[in-house]
Symmetry: C2
Subunit: 338 residues, 2 copies
């Protein structure tokens, strides 16, 4: 029960995104405006489809990281707006392609673009947004930012293929799973924060600190997402409990429960997730096994660990409202689990 | 029969890719080596799938344009190798995504990657290659090249969506069709030649000339491809006659034949391509209508027009073996139709 203390700590301080959102509000207006400008195309389907996704209630946490990092570093130019918009476009492109790959029907409580406009359009509009993202990066004139973001683009895709190819086995280790989410989720969080430091011309020490903050926050974000899928409130999440289970995704709660289980339990996991043979009551049984083996608490406990690393990474920056807010984001992400 | 003269002219000189290939051979060895280095990944599926496509016998005409353009401009560095490899990766990524969008089973006489490894892997490995392409561009340090190639990436995707959304109507005009192929095919040819001039630090006049050469060559290439699909030799093409027809693609031979036909003929085209209701003998009927209305000859005639523009664009460059070879590429592309 070593997780009780950090959980309570998170709860006591009632962490929220509000302080961050207040600090970045003006700049995020610029980001939202730029995003709307850059989805314009003579081909009507493009803005229509892109806006569906862009308007559908994401928190835009990634571009906020870029903005807050640049502010914390005292940046006074305008390029952080373009970088933040690029990051959001990269994220949106990934979502479009992910939904095709996962054959998902719903995202954040709405039908996915592939259901509304087809897989073809989702693939191609994703490609378009990626192209637009790179155009905006180029406009900043920062080759260092381009290097970080193009590397992230390749790593994200690599992570997705990794998940496709290897990580669908129920015997996946925690380390192998971590490698997947480091690539597919944490790499973009890392790049988002990192480029805020690059564009502000920070020392390599501070750039690395921002990269590390973002990367570990990304891990927190993904792990909590994994736990919520078996325990969350459907309305608050905009997705239903059990989506990952139904799609046969091997996430950390599953990895832990499988390893801690007996032979019968392992057979169950193999049948339901690896063989895809799911029956009535399987989800409930899965959740009860997770409870029995403390898998959700321990997934959250792992998230706390990465959250602590994220906060320590930021410590070298002088105190300022942005630093405080960025630290609170970590606590907010962990506290999403309640 | 106004096309007889240019066709014969093409034939007399027995145009081939050989002079170009000889000039760029050493540099293309570098390109091929770099390509193999950059598909390496810890995720085995990535090099496996990418190599399938890379090895499957494409002529690599796009990277050769970059190399030849740089050579013609007297470039002495090594960055043209990276740019040429980026162009080929962008092209490969597009093919992977195209096959998913078109649900194609065969490409160049081989099973498509999506048939061998699934749509999911094709989408994701395409994304990976695009990320690797941008990483290589960044390594050249040329923001101008990055601007041209990222713009091309967005325009290509836009062209594909355009084709998906609007151009599937049998009533499409020649102009609308031209807009599609300008975007989806010619933009990358233009960028491939253009960046050869940028990296060689040429005047904007010469850069524009290379862009224009590539763009018009791209149109030639696509139009001849369209004609070959109804008249070509399956072995030489690596695809079967009638693929476009079976996939319901509205290409220029169809646009011309439809417009020149009577009401009954138009009903046939609408049924077979727009409604997708294809019956035995339809392909043969389509080809006989095309012959009757001279649609294939006139498609080739249009290609000659763009080919002439491509060659005139190059005229401002001083005489050199690369200039001669690049002009011969145009005649080679036109003469593919025999």
């Amino acid at each position: 029960m070593g997780v009780v203390i950090p959980l309570d700590k998170g709860r006591n301080q009632a962490a929220s995104l509000a302080p961050l959102m207040a600090l970045v509000a003006d700049d995020m207006d610029g980001v939202n405006e730029l995003i709307m400008q850059r989805v314009v195309s003579n081909v009507e389907l493009i803005p229509e489809l892109a806006r569906h996704l862009i308007d559908s209630g994401g928190k835009r946490i990634r571009p906020m990281l870029t903005i807050a990092a640049a502010q914390m570093c005292g940046y006074e130019g305008k390029h952080h707006i373009k970088l933040a918009s690029s990051v959001e476009f990269m994220h949106t492109a990934t979502l479009l392609h992910d939904d095709v790959v996962d054959e998902s029907d719903m995202r954040r409580g709405n039908k996915t673009a592939r259901i509304l406009w087809g897989n073809e359009a989702s693939v191609l509009v994703g490609d378009f947004l990626l192209g637009q993202a790179f155009k905006m990066m180029v406009e900043t004139g920062s080759l260092d930012c381009l290097a970080v973001l193009s590397d992230a683009a390749a790593v994200i895709a690599e992570g997705e293929v990794m998940q496709l190819a290897a990580a669908q086995h129920i015997t996946t280790t925690e380390d192998a799973y971590l490698a997947v989410i480091k690539a597919k989720t944490a790499a973009l969080f890392a790049a988002a924060a990192h480029v805020g430091g690059i564009i502000s011309d920070q020392s390599s020490e501070k750039r690395s600190a921002l990269d590390s903050y973002g990367r570990n926050l990304g891990l927190v974000f993904q792990l909590i997402d994994d736990a919520l899928d078996y325990s969350g409130d459907a309305d608050a999440m905009g997705k239903s409990v059990g989506d990952d289970f139904r799609e046969g995704k091997i996430t950390l709660p599953v990895v832990l429960t499988y390893r801690r289980g007996n032979d019968d339990e392992r057979k169950f996991w193999k049948r339901a997730l690896e063989d895809g043979d799911q029956r009535d009551g399987d989800l409930e049984h899965a959740i009860s096994l997770m409870k029995q083996h403390n898998a959700l608490e321990d997934t959250i406990s792992r998230a706390h660990h990465y959250g602590a690393i994220a906060c320590d990474a930021l410590e070298i920056f002088p105190a300022c409202p942005q630093k405080t807010a960025l630290m609170e984001v970590v606590r907010f992400c962990v506290s999403r689990s309640f």
